[in-house]
């Protein structure tokens, strides 16, 4: 390992080197396993620096990008990389194994990918999760809010009340009424499938930092507080008593 090159790992992942140095360093990387390992770790670190600067893009951007994908040919996979192919096969198999039965998991309503994308008022929780941010998520916080009727009425009748409704992956539908001014959301569910013993529906306030429990959906309504602009409400199936962070794919995700 050449020390003068190795010390460039940091500058390399921050794109702070010239094109010439980058080429030289990348050649060096192919032969230097320890540099390569270090670069990976530092690259994940730089990604955190980026994530901390998440900004909602202009809404018009989405349609432009999506439209452009229909006119852009994709690169083929790198040929001959059978490791990748084997891995890809395993992943596809895994997807099949995990694929829900249609009867239980109806196709997503067409609106939900859009809702996800449009609600990109920040990064979605998945992006945060992808960086392992869920580990940073708030500590055990299962204060099931026993909202009084008056509190719920206050949100629902707020002048700025915003309503979102979606069918859920567990039948039925969920409605989220949010008052940005009050920073509260009322989550109401109807017709959702009864769960097996030992399972509960848990409601989450999802932000770029991860998911924070808003409590268990034991009745039909629940009040989520400290809802920030761009947060979304998600519902997952969890073991009785709830968990500190989601462990299953949400049956519903709604914008606030």
């Amino acid at each position: 390992m050449r020390d003068d090159l190795h010390v460039l790992t940091g500058s390399y992942v921050l794109d702070a080197i010239s094109d010439g140095e980058r080429e030289e360093f990348e050649r060096h990387l192919q032969a230097c396993l320890s540099c390569d390992a270090e670069v990976r770790g530092l690259r994940e670190t730089a990604a955190r620096l980026a994530l901390a600067r998440t900004v909602a893009p202009p809404a018009r951007m989405e349609q432009r990008v999506l439209a452009a994908t229909y006119q852009t040919r994709q690169l083929p996979p790198v040929a001959g990389d059978h490791l990748r192919t084997a891995r890809e096969r395993r992943r596809v198999q895994a997807e099949r194994v995990f694929a829900p039965r249609p009867a239980y998991w109806p196709p997503r309503p067409a609106s939900w990918p859009r809702r996800l994308a449009v609600a990109a008022a920040a990064a979605s929780v998945a992006a945060a999760v992808s960086l392992g941010v869920a580990q940073l998520s708030t500590q055990h916080q299962l204060d099931t809010v026993r909202a009084s009727g008056a509190e719920i009425a206050r949100v629902v009748t707020a002048p700025d009340a915003h309503v979102a409704t979606a069918r859920t992956g567990a039948r039925g539908s969920v409605t989220v009424v949010t008052s940005a001014a009050l920073r509260e959301s009322v989550v109401s569910a109807t017709g959702m499938a009864a769960l097996a013993a030992g399972r509960v529906y848990q409601v989450w306030v999802m932000s770029p930092a991860g998911a924070r429990s808003a409590g268990l959906l034991t009745g039909t309504q629940l009040l989520a507080s400290a809802v920030a602009p761009g947060d979304r409400i998600g519902i997952t199936v969890e073991p009785a008593g709830g968990t500190t962070r989601p462990t299953t794919t949400p049956v519903a995700v709604l914008s606030t």
Binding site: D15, V55, P57, A123, A127, A196, S207
Partner: protein
Amino acid sequence: MSRPERRHALHSEPDQEPDLSALLAQVARGDHRAFELVYGELAGPVYGVVRQVLRDPAQSEEVAQEVLLEIWRTASRFDPDRGSAAAWALTIAHRRAVDRVRTESASSRREQKAAPDLVHEQDVAEVVTTSLECQRVRRCLDSLTELQRESIKLAYYRGYSYPQVAQLLGVALGTVKTRIRDGLIRMRDCMEVTW
């Protein structure tokens, strides 16, 4: 009731992101719907980091669009064994932004268009400052030496090369290279980044 349990946990693999990785594999097969989801997840971070470097909103929008389209185009080249999907995408985003800065300063257009620091204040307001991730990054940045912190911020958030950073901070080239590296290593450990 014996309804099948959906065990596709969001966090089944602590170091990986099954969702985004799997989505990118679908995107590589030309799945536009999967790409919409990828867009939903990555547009904010991509736009945010590009905007951080470029500052100019119109230019940032243009570059962020290019980056997101690049993610569509090159999804087949993403290798989950070489890092997280987000890191892959944000590497593309940051490099594109920096390329734009360097091209512009070469033609000195950037100096003319240089936005005043007032814009910076606005940026800060738009950034999701409440996020825990933000707080964590800030706390870890604070744990660095001033030279480490300034070197990393100037390089990553301003898009400066290490020689430019050395000049701005009035220190030797070798010092900056070393401080960027050991500062990032400290950040990595402070943030408990796994890879």
